[in-house]
């Protein structure tokens, strides 16, 4: 039980860190970074660390809402382990059973799909150098294209797929083939397993919901990297698919928001340089080393104050004398932009750790200001507790 509790707290810290990173850098980093980070978090939540992670004081401070109440519960029930353990086990088994039954029911329906014979489809699938053979089928019971199966992946098209334009069909299939190449199906299984084990933890459900969105965003970006059709065509294809789902598939607020987010991100897509890729890779590697290795690495990690504070002082010290007199037009905003930009190459995996804030900063740095409002997705936790099945 205490192992689970350790995993819960360190997992919550990791999830909070990723949520912060996501709200700061979703636009700036290669979108593949975020599913990778969620995968690290999910594995961390599933594999008990051989060395127990010490709970850092900051972590407890950081998560008063989530950590506070259950912590007392465990403390008072320290001796009463059996019933608490039984409660957890019952919840985990129920969650797993619900997920599994739903998934099996879907798979039974998917199995009844009929094969498609279409030259364009075959050519596209062949153009994707995948080691696994992909079959494309039509299923009357799905309302939107989806992919399932890991070793023998299957792309399902809904009944009316013949009405797709050739371009739409190509984009849809490229999207699904990207899912297959990126191994998103097994990633979703792992995420679902983590959610079942940690059914009581709102942080984990936040992770589950965000990870699902990030998987789609990363996949969209992979499509845009390959296609020559351009952003607008892809965004329109996506909207077209949503339209064709028909009124029986209620587009709930959450679904609509996710689609809007995807369309926005697609339209903002730019080809990224090597720099952003390296920054993303560095973040993933850092989070891996920090959280996969246990106590030693955790303690040895210095708080990343030097670089940011240097930047901030440069930024802050100059404007102070000018404060009284109106600054020359243009200099200040420019400086602000300059100050904001360099944050990218020095991403630290710890923005969640409030280092003892360097006090003498007159101007609050821009990224920090962003952090507060945009880290807000957390309160969603309550609304997302009904998880979708993991197959698409």
């Amino acid at each position: 039980m205490s192992t689970l509790w350790h995993m819960t707290v360190s997992g919550a810290v990791l999830i909070a860190a990723i949520v912060c990173l996501r709200s700061l850098f979703l636009e700036k980093l290669d979108k593949g970074v975020f599913p990778a980070l969620w995968l690290v978090a999910a594995v961390r939540l599933l594999v008990p660390a051989s060395v127990p992670v010490p709970l850092p004081a900051q972590a407890m401070e950081l998560l008063p809402a989530a950590a506070g109440a259950p912590a007392q519960g465990t403390a008072s029930a320290g001796g009463g382990f059996p019933w608490l353990g039984a409660l957890w086990l019952a919840g985990a088994l129920t969650a797993a059973a619900v997920m599994l039954l739903r998934h099996i029911r879907s798979l039974r329906q998917y199995a009844q799909a009929l094969p498609v014979h279409d030259e364009q489809i075959d050519a596209l699938a062949a153009g994707f150098d995948l080691r696994r053979t992909v079959s494309v089928r039509v299923c009357q019971t799905v309302s939107t294209p989806l992919t399932y199966g890991f070793l023998r992946p299957v792309i399902l098209l809904p009944k009316g797929w013949e009405s797709y334009s050739r371009q739409e069909l190509e984009l849809v299939l490229t999207h699904e083939l990207c899912h297959i190449r990126r191994l998103d199906v097994p990633v979703k299984y792992i995420l679902t397993a983590a959610a079942c084990v940690h059914w009581f933890d709102p942080f984990v459900w936040v992770m589950y919901a965000l990870a699902e969105r990030d998987i789609e965003l990363a996949c969209d970006e992979a499509v845009l990297r390959r296609t020559t059709d351009g952003r607008a065509a892809y965004a329109m294809a996506l909207i077209g698919l949503e339209e064709r789902r028909g009124p029986d598939m209620l587009l709930s607020g959450f679904g609509l928001r996710a689609v809007r987010e995807r369309v926005t991100e697609i339209m903002q897509y730019r080809r990224r340089g090597l720099r952003s890729f390296l920054a993303g890779a560095a973040i993933v590697v850092c989070s891996l080393t920090v959280f996969a290795t246990a106590a030693a690495a955790y303690d040895a990690q210095p708080l990343p104050t030097p670089t940011p504070s240097l930047l901030l002082q440069e930024d802050g010290s100059l404007p102070i004398p000018d404060r009284g007199t109106p600054p020359p037009a243009g200099t200040l905003p420019e400086r602000a932009v300059e100050g904001g930009e360099p944050v990218l190459p020095t991403p630290s995996p710890m923005p969640a750790m409030p280092s003892p804030t360097p006090a003498p900063i007159p101007v609050t740095p821009a990224p920090m200001q962003q952090a507060a409002p945009t880290a807000a997705p957390m309160p969603q936790a309550g609304t997302v507790t009904v998880p979708p099945t993991p197959e698409p």
Partner: protein
């Protein structure tokens, strides 16, 4: 009776053969559409439940209760209702408008018109 595409696949086998054991249907469809035996049996069961087919016990031999013509008529009615607002002439107009009818098909249609006169 509304039959899904998957159920129609099973019915096709029955219509082609008059009757067939579940095992035969499974073999045919495994080859044709790549279904597993379990999947085929699930779909056969649906056909039985809907009353589209019936089985006789020794050997689980199935025979169709609905004829191909009946199923086609139903599907056509549905199509006309859904896409052509219940007006069958618009369906015909749309078929003719596609100009992809062969001589043979046109002859068939002419014959039909003659018969219905």
């Amino acid at each position: 009776m509304k039959l899904y595409d998957s159920e129609l696949k099973v019915m096709e086998v029955l219509w082609d053969r008059g009757e067939a054991s579940a095992k035969t249907i499974a073999q045919v469809l495994a080859e044709q559409v790549g279904w597993s035996k379990t999947t085929t049996y699930t779909v056969i069961k649906k056909c039985l439940d809907k009353g589209a087919a019936a089985r006789t016990e020794p050997g689980f031999v199935c025979r169709p209760l609905v004829s191909r013509a009946e199923a086609q008529a139903y599907a056509t009615d549905e199509l006309v209702d859904k896409l052509y607002g219940g007006a069958a002439d618009r369906l015909v107009a749309s078929l003719l408008g596609r100009k992809r009818l062969t001589e043979e098909e046109l002859d068939g249609l002419k014959k039909l018109v003659e018969e219905l006169k």
